[in-house]
Structure formats: C-alpha cells, structure tokens
Assembly symmetry: none
Homo-oligomer: 125 residues x 4
C-alpha cells in the first residue's frame, strides 16, 4: 500500500527522489497541480510532516511552486526540469561506473560493455 522505502537514507530524501522522477517522467505535468500534502502522505504511508519537508526541498530546487491560494503545482520551466533530469542521470552514471569499478571494470571497459549491450539490442530489433 505504502511506497517502497528503505532505511538507509532519510525517508524525506527518498520521497523527494520519487516525486522528482514523477515530474521528469511527465507523470506530474509541467504547470499541473499536485495532490495535497495529506493525500500524498497517506499514499506514501508517512507522516504529513515528512511529506511537508520533502515538498520544501522540491520548492527549494525550483521544481514545485506554492500557489498562494491553494496547493502546489509543478514548475512550467521545462528547462529546469530538464536540468534536474540531467543531474540525476549524471548521478546514476557515476554510481554505475563506481559499481563496475568494484567489480574490477575500469570506465573504459564499462563503456565497451554498454556499447556491446546496446549494439546487441539494436540487432535484435
């Protein structure tokens, strides 16, 4: 029922990440309205305060905008959304290369493995 969260990182940080993904993927559209704090807190199975904290961080990064009257909306600044997307991608890439290094593959080798994998998939189509 609740979102799948682990105990390694702060819960609010995990929520931030989830919501970021929903914005990047277009699940929450630019300029669109977000569910209320209470609603999302219920869905995630966390305390509303925690959800509040996550929202504050998302506002800080400029992805969410509080509407004086009621609720919050996703920024319409698609440039900004795009930047966040690239930042996260960069993190994923670094994490991936790090994982591969632990397996004994240096970045060049990891790059070649990805290359083979992609080419193989291309041929299959």
């Amino acid at each position: 029922m609740a979102w799948k969260l682990d105990n390694d990182r702060p819960i609010y940080a995990q929520i931030v990440e989830k919501i970021k993904l929903r914005i990047i993927s277009g699940f929450y559209q630019p300029g669109g309205k977000l569910p209320s704090v209470r609603e999302l807190a219920l869905e995630a199975g966390v305390n509303p305060n925690t959800m509040q904290k996550a929202f504050a961080e998302l506002e800080n990064s400029g992805l969410l905008i509080t509407m004086r009257t009621s609720g919050r909306m996703v920024t319409e600044d698609e440039e900004r959304i795009s930047m966040v997307r690239e930042t996260i991608a960069k993190e994923k890439i670094d994490a991936f290369l790090q994982d591969m290094r632990e397996l004994g593959f240096d970045p060049e080798q990891s790059f070649l493995l990805i290359k083979n994998n992609v080419e193989q998939k291309r041929e299959e189509e």
Copy 2:
C-alpha cells in the same frame, strides 16, 4: 558495527552479494580460507543461521567449498569466479539502462552519456 543492510531485500541475499563482491575483488582470495560462520555473523550483526543460509547459497553457486570441521574456502576455480563477475556486471548494466529509461533516456542516449563521461575523465588526466 554491523554491515550496512537495508530492509528491501532479504538480509541473507544482501550478505550473499557482499561476499560475492569480496570474492570477485580478491578481498577473499581463490583457495583462501573464510572467517567462520559465527565470526562473520558477528561482524555482520546477524544471526548465525542467517549467515549459514547465505553460505549455503554461495556454496550452491560453487563459489565456496566447505571443509567440514575446518571452515570454508573460496573456490580455486577462477573461471567460475570470472563467470559470476560477468553475470553481476550484466545485471548492473541492465539495471542502469532501466533506470535511465525511467529518466527518459533510451539505451543509445545512455550509451552516449557514458561515452562523454568517460572521454571527459580521460582528458582530465
């Protein structure tokens, strides 16, 4: 004190992964002796039975060999270790490409991003 374990996956599965990495990385050498079940259970902060279960799985996959009454050693079959290493790398690659897909990058794009990243690092040196 204890190993860093999350609640998402079974503890024994995470231990299996950790020990695999230690074997792949050479931290535990081929043919080398492993700490006892009890010792590692203490280090990981888990019940000896749980460590036992992890060991059983590692033995099933042929990475560990039990020498009754005198502990366990890593297989001397480096071929097998190498195979496990490649299997894990394959999984990491698939997971990475999947993560990127969720961010809206298809495999070709992910490949290019890795390429840029690697070339950039090469130039920095």
Copy 3:
C-alpha cells in the same frame, strides 16, 4: 502419526527423498498442487522450518515450483521428473552392488543372483 524417520541422515534430507518418491510415483501429479508447508510439517511431525528447507532443496532441483501466496506445485516438466527417477535408480543400483560386495559377491555374481531371482518369479506366474 509422524513420518518414519531415522537418525542417521538429516531429517530434511529424508523428507526430500520421500517427496521425490511421491512425485516420481505420481502420488503428487505433474502440475498438481502440494499441501502447504505447515500441513506437511504437521503430517511429518517436524518443524515448519525443516519442511521449508526440504522444499527449498526440491525447488533447487527443479521438481517444485513456488506460486507465492497460493502454495506450491509439482513441475509439469515430466522430462525432469524422469531424470530424477533415473538418478535415484542409479544410486540404488550402486548401493545394492556395494552391499553385495561387502557380502563377498562381485557385480557379475550379483547380476546372476538378480537374474535367477527374476526368472524364478517369472516362472511362478
């Protein structure tokens, strides 16, 4: 009440053998559903964990398939069942010839004794 188990071999190993026989003999049909862990544990008079361990082993060998939340079924792969049957037969034959050797009969002699025994039975019919 409980199954007939001896103290020579691990209980779980004896259970594995019993269930294998039930599968080979068709008492549990290919594709058929098995009693639950708890039910069989009760029938066998052992701890559910022990039955679980036996099941895990049977699943490892591909004879059982877990359908989470709705129990386990016997594989529909009759080829595999057949293979297990032949493996066990091979073990029985080896054990038999070994027993006979201890009695001072070499394999040729054991073979002749079996031959006589079978021919005698054939005549009786």
Copy 4:
C-alpha cells in the same frame, strides 16, 4: 566412537547384523575367538545386556559357539556361514527390487539396468 546405529529397528538386531557381516566377510575367522561381551559392548556403545542378547541370537542361528571354558568362537561350519551369507543376499535383493518397484521399475527392468551397469563396468576395465 560407538557403532552407527539407528532408531528404527531394535539395537540388538542391528548388532546381530553387524556381527554377521564380520563373520561373513572373514573379519572374524571360522573357528576364531570373539572379543568378550563387555569388550564388544564397550566398542558398540551399548549395554552389555544388549550385546548378550545379540550373542544369544547368533548362537541360536549356529554362527557362534559358546566355549564352556572361556568366551565364544565363530562356528567352523563354513557351510552354515555360507548359508547365512546367501540369506542376507536374498534379503538385499528383495529390498532392492522393492525399492526399484517404488520407482516404477518392474523386476525385469531392474534386471536390465543391473546388466547394463555391470557390462559398462566390465568395459571400463
């Protein structure tokens, strides 16, 4: 330290069987003297009374003979030893054919399997 005995059958019966095997295999020679009840009871890890009972049974079957003066010896009647050997062989054969029947092999098939096994071993030499 003690002999390996299970809990399925009476202990004295298992001891009878062990000693019979030792006689058949020549470990105890025809006409040879046997260790004392106490000695063997110690070796087997059983109560001397139990060993006594086993001896009584072996005497009954004519394999052992009590020497008025001291201790017991194995019969010198090799004919009798031979008969016991064949009786046991017969039991092993019946048990084997029964086991195979449970696996779904009728005696004819079991016979053929033994035949193949023996021929294969012959070729290997």
